[in-house]
């Protein structure tokens, strides 16, 4: 039996999921905020704080994975090698987190009012600041979402991760889970005028993203099946091996199928002037989150090391390339 990859296990999977979720949620509410300034406060506030919390917990998970967490937190000492994607990512995450936190502070009425009374110019410029933070935050959030996949893709010894389809897959999943998280607030808490249209737009976005994610996921699986023996063995863990149940049930059925059905149900119901309770969108979004986490977990677990799949010794004795004499 092939052993699963355990050097990076639960904690990095939690980070890859929450980093993507935070990025996706921030992106979604920023677009909403730029499109309809000053409206849908509950959805926007909920989404921004979700982004902050997700990124904070994700970063904690990431930092607790390393052997020396406290040393790792001294960024200017521990992330200095510019040729490493992890260095780029660490600084990107720092900047993004600061922007997310600032945006959350200026979004929350009580905090923003207090800031405004403490420093008058801040209070007057609040709307402008929020807009600027949204505009800066969108590309940063997108970069964080892509980086979760690039981090794995830049590890050359793991055959399963060596494709640009992985950053693509994680990015689409990040948007998908982000929209899902925001739609929970829109469905369960927000009662503003016009929220129906926002809900419908979010549901349409869910449909589009789920279909896109299914296409990218299928492309990823098919590419890996045809890429070589090591890649095929690793992807086999998902499609028929030790991770088969998690993959087909939680990633595909729960993570893609349920949100799609929930979104279609709501669109059909609203066309026929019918009403569905908030349980349907909230349930669909919860399923998307479960699928998003499981996707990161199974991709990590199936990331078999090339040398351990076909041992270094075997390669030494049989597969060497350069003849010395």
């Amino acid at each position: 039996m092939v052993e699963l990859q355990t050097t990076w296990s639960w904690l990095p999977a939690i980070y890859l999921f929450l980093g993507g979720l935070g990025a996706g949620a921030f992106l979604t509410v920023s677009v909403l905020r730029l499109a309809k300034p000053g409206r849908f406060k509950k959805t926007v506030t909920g989404g921004v704080w979700t982004a902050v919390a997700a990124l904070a917990i994700g970063l904690l998970a990431l930092v607790s994975e390393v052997e020396k967490p406290f040393q790792a937190m001294i960024l200017f000492k521990s992330f200095v090698n510019g040729s490493s994607w992890m260095t780029v990512g660490a600084w990107l995450l720092l900047v993004t987190f600061v922007v997310f936190v600032l945006s959350a502070l200026f979004t929350t009425d009580k905090i923003a009012d207090w800031l405004g009374s403490a420093c008058k110019p801040l209070g007057r410029a609040r709307a402008g600041i929020n807009k600027v933070l949204a505009v800066i935050g969108i590309p940063l959030a997108l970069a964080v979402a892509v980086y979760t996949g690039v981090l794995l893709g830049a590890a050359p010894a793991i055959p399963l991760w060596g494709t640009w389809l992985l950053p693509a897959l994680f990015t689409v999943s990040a948007l998908d889970t982000g929209v899902a998280a925001v739609s929970i607030f829109a469905a369960a808490m927000d009662r503003d005028e016009g929220i129906e249209r926002v809900r419908a737009t979010l549901e349409k976005a869910v449909i589009g993203l789920v279909v896109l994610e299914a296409v990218v996921l299928a492309a990823f699986v098919l590419t890996m099946q045809g890429a070589g023996a090591d890649e095929a063995r690793a992807i086999g863990l998902l499609t028929e091996g030790a991770l088969g149940v998690q993959f087909w049930l939680l990633v595909v059925a729960v993570g893609l199928g349920c949100p799609l059905i929930a979104a279609i149900t709501q669109l059909v119901a609203s066309r026929q002037k019918g009403k569905v309770g908030p349980a349907v969108p909230v349930g669909g979004a919860a399923c998307a989150l479960v699928g998003g986490f499981t996707l990161r977990f199974v991709v990590l677990a199936a990331g078999l090391h090339a040398a351990l799949v076909s041992p270094a010794a075997l390669q030494a004795a049989q597969g060497a390339l350069m003849l010395i004499s």
Binding site: A307, A317, A320, L323
Partner: protein
Amino acid sequence: MAKQYGFYMDTERCIKCWACEVACKQWNGIEAGTIARRKVHEVESGTFPNVTRTFVSMSCMHCGEPACAKVCPAGAITKRGEDGIVVVDKEKCIGCHYCFFACPFGVPQYTDAGMDKCDCCIGNGVEPGDTPHCVATCPTQALQFGTMDELAAKVGDKKAKQMAADAKPSVVVS
């Protein structure tokens, strides 16, 4: 080209006595039951009744272009210019495990102090370029050490091959 030290593994001579592994652990003060910088692998080939077993002792390959050093965020892994030995600065290492996923041979291992791997014994007092303890202790001279040119001369007309990977490992196997 600057000097590059490396290992030569003569599989015809290896009797799988593990002396290299033991010497490595002893001299480098590696706690029992934890990691091993050098490991003796066994490769089976053929089908019964024509089966052969080959023994290969492997550690860090001190690659020409080390993939581990490229991905290390802390800059804790360096390739020494004077002898090509790849070393880890454990003070700088944060233990993120990224190098394990970059190394084509899965060499990096981890302790609380950080990443741990072969440094050709320069960490325990052997002069760079002098014989490391694994090689000195090998009773059959299956494991040898030297510059890549010296190793090529030792290999002579045997069918030896340099380990293959994009990172250009400094290990020859025959």
